[in-house]
Amino acid sequence: MSYIAKPKVSWAGQERNSLGLTLADYEGGLSTLCAGCGHDSITAALVRGFWELGLEPEQVIKLSGIGCSSKTPAYFLSGAHGFNSVHGRMPSVATGAQAARRDLIAVGISGDGDSLSIGFGQFAHAVRRNLNVLYIIENNGVYGLTKGQFSASADPGSKAKKGAANRNQAIDPVATAITLGGSFAARSFSGDKKQLVPLIKAGLMHPGCAVIDVVSPCVTFNDHEGSTKSYAWTRQHLHATVEADYVPPSTEIQVDYDDGAHTDVNLHDGSVLRLKKTDPDYDPSNRAGALDFLEAHRARAEVVTGLLYIDPDLPTFHDIAGTSKQPLTQHEFEDLSPGADALAELQKGLR
């Protein structure tokens, strides 16, 4: 929702990616969010991630709902088609768009209000269908755009700016995604670009629904003392588990299975997600273990980050629907409409 188009300055000596594009080629309009808003750091991480992957902007579609967070798609990849849908309904629009164009890489950006309140059903069903989308929740525990009401991710005990404490139970998007049979569930922090950028790349390349819950403080309504989604609280309570990075198929891969700190997850196209463990005991391929771990750390008020669960082999939306590899919009009309003779033949059965 940029008022102002960002001038694209290009100067000599800028770094260029495999396509010869600069970071600026992956930017979008000027942000109209509050100075310091966590969401803007996520935008920067996205720009970086796309740039590092060397994707053509027009290969991507970017979608969102409504909220400060949902304005994000306007601030990166101005060369990609963007879609700011209605509140909480990004997943269904992404589903339709993927159905039509499975060749495009879909990134959906949402907020905790957008995905955990009004959009909880759509979030859940995108996950259980394993829709081919990178699904980022910019999670600040409040409704920023409507001025700071608690969202469903607000922790019990977390205090509002005016002092009242939330007492409803919190929805954890990561635990929820795993419980719903998600294939990729991660958490990060807008202030941790080092962790976030590779995670975004991994999520973009993951075949299926990659959910990344990014704690993204709202400086205007939820960054005070007593909040459990503030910069300070999050920094203090971080517990990193597994870092993930994407290694393209062409790259020579050194398999380090025994190195303990490294595990490689092979994707079907020959690429690899390389996992580095910060918490050596954590196994992101164990669904029961992941839930148990999340639950234990929740009880200790810790913010567990990293790639918390992955199963690259679950059938994706397209596997299940049996959609043709060739995008549906690219078929010849003759291959879609059976023609007059077939119609006549068919009607023989209707007499």
Binding site: M1, S2, Y3, A5, P57, E58, Q59, I61, L63, P73, S78, G79, A80, H81, G82, F83, N84, S85, V86, R89, P91, S92, V93, A94, T95, G96, A97, Q98, A99, A100, R101, D103, L104, G121, Q122, A124, H125, R129, A321, G322, T323, S324, K325, L328, T329, H331, F333, D335, L336, S337, P338, G339, A340, A342, L343, A344, L346, Q347, L350, R351
Partner: protein
């Protein structure tokens, strides 16, 4: 035996059963047998909103003149359901017949003056010849088919052929079924004067015709129009649209080599999601649709307004059922007219198409996709339960292989290369329709869809003038739509008249019949059948040309009459409502009566 008038090929046969007992196939046999005898038929299914054990009725009308409306008459009633027995008896027309299962003795409520009651011990006969309770239940139904063959001279050989076709995969079932037919047949021949005066006789009025339900025809239309994405949430009476689409796609859209699907059907988690999927797919360039019914449209309203304002093509089939709210899911009405026309908050309006039978479901489904893409807007096809779920006899569907989808104003990468700037919402051609690009296009064509305020360049705006420019263009686009939607069709009365009637959708058959009968009585009424909203000039002309215009519709609140007033500033004084809204399809008798009453009153006044 009371003798009624002789009615060859002009009767209503009604069968009262309990749902979940397999009577549907027996009734289908009867319909098809009559059809193959060359007799025009229509079937109307009145079923309950549950799965098993409640009353259900099937009404077959045979009409040598080819009328297909429900009539108030019942010539022959097959009363298989004890629970509704007295109600069923009461419904039989004077001079008519009631057939019942006389296995168990019944009391005197069985009889009524002027109705001949024929008892056939169906259960007894069937139990003597078949084993197993499920089989016996099924065969009892087949046995009444046999009895009717005898009583009404329905061709038993055709029934046999139909059984052979039905059980082509399990030929062993043909003989037992035909045996059941024979049981009923023989009993009737032995015990009653066959045929009854109400009976069938071979004729030749079904050549070039088919029997089809509107929902299947609509699905065929989607298939032929090249729709690739279907998203839906199950709801009666629209479910069979997607069931049929799935069936057709499985047959015609699977890659013969890879088995891959050239379609994608998504059973959404609810109607809001189904709408979102259709909008997403339409944005991405696929032809996409969702079938639903009233409650679904209410739930989709937010997305419909979004698609209107963001100018994304999408096709919504509303198979109307009785409202308000959950209403009567298995009964018919035309009660979503206003909702479809204006769904969503703010200033919104949507083209709506009104098919009048399954053939038009097929044709207007195709038009809907062309219009949606040409106009870049959501388009409604307003069918109803009567059209959608009943078997109608219609002319064979035609397809022109030269047809190519009208994709509307879509810029390709080549087009983009030739222009300096791409502005998504600018009115280049002066028709209110802007150019669009599809996701995946060259980045020069990228733009940002938003349901919030935007200017003609596609940018976000909160500026008063920029906002207005876009919504004013949308209004101009609406004017363009008037010239693009299918026009209303006029049928002139045999003689000059200043009386007209406007009707649409499933009321068409009853209207035709009523007007013929009125004409025979010397009452001339011109007829305009609406096929779309917005209304074209022809609708205005019709209103102008007539002093009195009846508006016939199947809802309580005269919704179409409202649309005429809203949209055309029609003179309300000349618009006389004929409203029918009890959930059953409208009858021709009712129309004749209302028009007759009005004319008589006017004459007195």
């Amino acid at each position: 035996m009371t003798s009624g008038n002789t009615r060859t090929n002009d009767f209503v046969l009604k069968i009262a059963t309990v749902n979940g007992t397999g009577s549907a196939s027996a009734n289908g046999l009867l319909m098809k047998a009559l059809f193959r005898m060359g007799i025009p038929v229509t079937g109307k299914n009145m079923f309950p909103s549950n799965i098993q054990g409640l009353p259900t009725w099937y009404e077959i009308r045979a009409s040598q003149e080819g009328y297909n409306a429900r009539t108030g008459r019942v010539d022959v009633m097959v009363a298989m359901n004890a629970q509704t027995y007295s109600k069923d008896l009461a419904e039989v027309s004077h001079g008519g017949y009631l057939i019942y299962d006389s296995t168990w003795p019944r009391d005197e409520q069985l009889s009524r003056d002027g109705v001949s009651v024929l008892g056939i011990p169906l259960s007894k006969m069937v139990n003597e010849h078949f084993e197993g309770s499920r089989v016996r239940t099924l065969m009892k139904n087949i046995a009444y088919v046999g009895a009717l063959c005898a009583l009404m001279e329905i061709d038993r050989e055709i029934v046999r052929t139909l059984l052979e076709e039905t059980f082509a995969a399990k030929p062993k079932l043909v003989e037992p079924n035909f045996k059941a037919v024979t049981l009923g047949y023989d009993y009737a021949r032995e015990h009653f004067d066959c045929p009854l005066p109400v009976c069938a006789g071979k004729m030749d009025a079904t050549a070039g015709k088919i029997l089809i339900e509107g929902n299947a025809a609509a699905a065929l239309g989607c298939l032929y129009a090249g729709a690739t994405v279907g998203a839906w949430y199950p709801i009666t009476p629209s479910t069979s649209v997607m069931d049929a689409f799935q069936g057709f796609c499985d047959k015609y859209r699977k890659d013969p080599e890879t088995g891959e699907n050239r379609f994608c059907i998504v059973q959404a988690e609810d109607e809001l999601a189904a709408a979102g999927m259709v909008v997403g797919a339409g944005w991405a360039g696929a032809r996409a649709f969702t079938p639903t019914s009233g409650p679904g449209i209410s739930l989709m309203s937010e997305f419909i307004g979004f698609a209107y304002y963001t100018e994304i093509p999408a096709v919504f089939f509303d198979i109307q059922r009785v409202g308000p709210s959950t209403g009567m899911p298995t009964r018919t009405q035309q009660c979503d007219v206003m909702l479809a026309a204006f769904a969503s908050h703010g200033d919104t309006r949507h083209p709506v198409l009104f098919p009048s039978d399954p053939k038009e479901c097929f044709e207007l489904a195709v038009s809907a996709f062309d219009l949606a893409e040409r106009l870049q807007t959501p388009v409604f096809v307003l069918s109803d339960l009567d059209i959608g779920m009943n078997d109608w006899m219609v002319d064979e569907l035609q397809w022109d292989d030269a047809y190519r989808p009208d994709r509307g104003k879509v810029l390709t990468d080549a087009d983009l290369a030739e222009i300096k700037h791409f502005h998504r919402f600018r009115d280049v051609d002066g028709d209110g329709i802007a150019y669009r690009t599809l996701p995946g296009s060259d980045r020069k064509g990228s733009y940002f869809v938003r349901g919030s305020g935007h200017n003609q360049y596609g940018g976000y705006t909160e500026d008063a003038d920029e906002y207005r420019q876009v919504v004013d263009r949308l209004k101009l686009k609406w004017e363009s739509a008037r010239g693009l939607v299918p026009g209303a069709l006029e049928r002139k009365a045999p003689s000059r008249t200043d009386i007209g009637i406007i009707a649409f959708g499933s009321s068409h058959g009853a209207t035709l019949e009523a007007l013929d009968r009125l004409a025979a009585d010397g009452v001339a009424v011109d007829y305009l059948r609406l096929r779309a909203f917005p209304f074209g000039d022809e609708v205005e002309a019709f209103l102008k040309a007539h002093r009195t215009v009846f508006v016939l519709e199947q809802n309580r609140d005269a919704q179409m009459r409202s649309l005429l007033k809203i949209e055309l500033d029609a003179d309300p004084q000349k618009l006389i409502s004929i409203l029918h809204y009890n959930g059953l399809p409208v009858t021709s008798e009712m129309i004749i009566e209302r028009i007759g009453d009005y004319i008589r009153q006017e004459a007195v006044a």
